[in-house]
């Protein structure tokens, strides 16, 4: 759930999603869900000449399972907050496992 929450804080930011089929799509992050499926608005395909397939498309839904990377501007990420949240999550997971 951590990354789901993290992506929710990035809604309305411009990101580039690199897919496992090597295509990269730039757009505004509009929506994310528990599977980390991503919806981008106002997209432009990086290297449109190679990939004209989405020329008529402005908004896309990208299945979480095919995402390789989400490139973000460093400025919008609060690394301290992320580190804290990660430590809390790790601790929660550890105690959950230990209790069994």
């Amino acid at each position: 759930m951590l990354f789901f929450s993290f992506f929710k804080t990035l809604i309305d930011e411009q990101v580039i999603v690199e897919l496992k089929n090597d295509m990269s799509i730039r757009g505004t992050l509009k929506s994310v869900d528990q599977f980390l499926n991503i919806k981008l608005d106002n997209i432009s395909v990086v290297d449109e000449v190679k990939y004209p397939h989405l020329s008529a498309v402005k908004n896309v839904f990208i299945r979480g399972s095919v995402v390789r990377y989400v490139h973000l501007p460093a400025a919008v990420v609060d690394t301290t907050l992320l580190e804290d949240a990660t430590r809390k999550e790790a601790a929660a997971q550890a105690s959950k496992m230990g209790g069994r």
Partner: protein
Amino acid sequence: MSALAPYVGKVVVVITSDGRLFTGTLQGYDQTTNLILESAKERVITPDAPTEVLDLGLYLLRGESVALCGLVDDEIDSQIDWYKVRGLRLGETKKLGR
């Protein structure tokens, strides 16, 4: 939930995990991204030959094989002569053998 609800009833472009391009009217979907496309067509875009279009009718695509579903903007789409479009063959999302 990042739902596909706004796309239902509209013309969409679907890219599959094996690198194929489909277009059609989205009739339905579920949480695993299974899709129902009406009047589905496959557009085969290659770097050296005119675009081939294959008429498929009513199609169900299994969620596992869906990579991307894009909402088609009719204004822009009507201005494109797909027959003339050339492009790279789309890659696969899984390396062969896995």
